[in-house]
Symmetry: C2
Subunit: 226 residues, 2 copies
Amino acid sequence: MKDGPHIAAIAALIGDPARANILSALMDGRALTISELARSANVGLPTASTHISKLEAAGLLLSIKQGRHRYVRLSGEDVVHTLETLMLLAARTGHRRVRTGPRDPALREARVCYDHLAGARGVQMFESMVQSRLLECGGGHVRLTSAGRRFAQRFGIDLGEHQTKDSVTCVSCLDWSERRDHLAGRLGCACLSRIFALKWARRDKDSRAVLFSANGLREFNRLFPI
Amino acid sequence: MKDGPHIAAIAALIGDPARANILSALMDGRALTISELARSANVGLPTASTHISKLEAAGLLLSIKQGRHRYVRLSGEDVVHTLETLMLLAARTGHRRVRTGPRDPALREARVCYDHLAGARGVQMFESMVQSRLLECGGGHVRLTSAGRRFAQRFGIDLGEHQTKDSVTCVSCLDWSERRDHLAGRLGCACLSRIFALKWARRDKDSRAVLFSANGLREFNRLFPI
DNA sequence: ACGATGCTTCGCTATCGGTCAAACCATGAA
DNA sequence: TTCATGGTTTGACCGATAGCGAAGCATCGT
C-alpha cells in the first residue's frame, strides 16, 4: 500500500526502452563507455548521457572517469537479478520476442551473468558440486564444505581471506533459460575466471555467450559430471 | 541488447505509482474489486479501471466478473517475485521509506506472500524442515522426502494427487526483510492454510501481516524448532 | 419499474519526459 | 597553440499518457 511509489521509482527507470537497453548491455559485468552504450541503445550521445546520469543517481550504476572516457558498470548483482526476473516475467506473459535469434541457443547453453557462469553449463556446474558434496545447500544459503575447499585449491582458486560466509552465497539467479539456480558470489566469479584462464572457453565478442572449445567442454564435463 | 524493450514494457507498467500501488495491494494473493483498488491507490475509479485493463492485457493480472463486481488478482507467483525483487533493490539503493511504519515490525515477523508464509517465521519453517530432513534442498529444487510426506500427513495436509515435482518447488522468494528463501508452491500454500485452520495465527485486516497467537506461536515453535 | 451501485468508455486537458541539435567544457594528441 | 574526441548542458520540440468529469451500460435490490 505504501511501498508502491518506491518500486515505481525503480521500475520507471527500467521502464524506458533506451535505459533498459543500457542496463541489458551492462549485464555481463563489463564496464562500458557512454558512447558504446549510446550505440548499443540506439540513441544519441546526449540522450545516453542523461539516462546514465539518472541511473547512477538512482544507485543502479556506478561510473569512474578515466581520461576523457567514463566507464559505467552496474552497481551490484541485485540489479542483474532484478533484470533477469523481469525477463522471466516478460517471457511468461508473452512479451518475449517470438523469433529467437541465431545466437539464442548459445546463450541458453552458457553465458555470463554479471561475473559468473549461467545457462545450462552454469546449472550443471552448480548441481554437480552439490551432488559431490563440495557445496552444502540448505535454507537459501550455500556453504563450501571442507572437501569443496580442497577442490577449489586443486582447481587453482585461491579463496584466500575471502572465506567469509556471504562470499560464497548462492544468489538464486533464476534465469529465463534454465529455471534453476546457479553459483554466484566470489566463488562463482572465481570459477568462471579459472575457466577462461584455462582456455576451456572464451567470451563471444558481442553478446553474453560463453563459447566452450571442444577440449574445454570435455575437461569441464570431467570435472563437473552430470 | 535486443531484450531491452521486452523488459521495458513490463517495467514501464510497474513504473507508474498508481499501478504499483495496485499491484502491491494485490500481493497478499487476495482478489480485490476495482473500487477497492482505486481507493488503495488513491486514484479515481475510471483511472483505476484503465490501469487494471492494461495490467490484465499485459498478463500481470487476472479478473473474473461476479455480478456487478470484478474481482482482480495477480496472475501468478512470478509477479510477486518480481515485485519483491524490486522492493529489495529499492531498499538497497535507498529508495525505501525512511520512516518504518508502525506495522512494519509485524511484517518482518510474519506476513503473507501471495499464498504462503514469509518473513522470519516463514524462513524458520523452511529451515527447520530442511534441518529435520523433511525437505531435501539441492540445486534450486526442493523435494519432499518420505519423512516429509509422513509429516505432512500428520500435520493434516492432504497432498493428494498433487505430488508432482513442481508442486513443492521452493520458489526462491528472497524478500526484503530476511534475505533467505522460504517455502512456496502448493506445500507452502497448504501449510499456511493449515496454520490458519488451526487458529495458530490470523491475518491482519488491512496489511499483509500474519499475527500469531501466544499459544499458536508455541505450537509453531514446537513443530518447527529453531 | 425505478433508483442505486459498480464499472467502463469517451473526450479533454495538462503535464511529464524522451529526444536531439547546438553550444559548451575537458582531456589528449600533434 | 590548435585541432580532435568524449562527454555534458541547455533549450526547444513533441509525442505519450495519467488523470478526471460526464455519459453510458450492466446488474442488483426493492
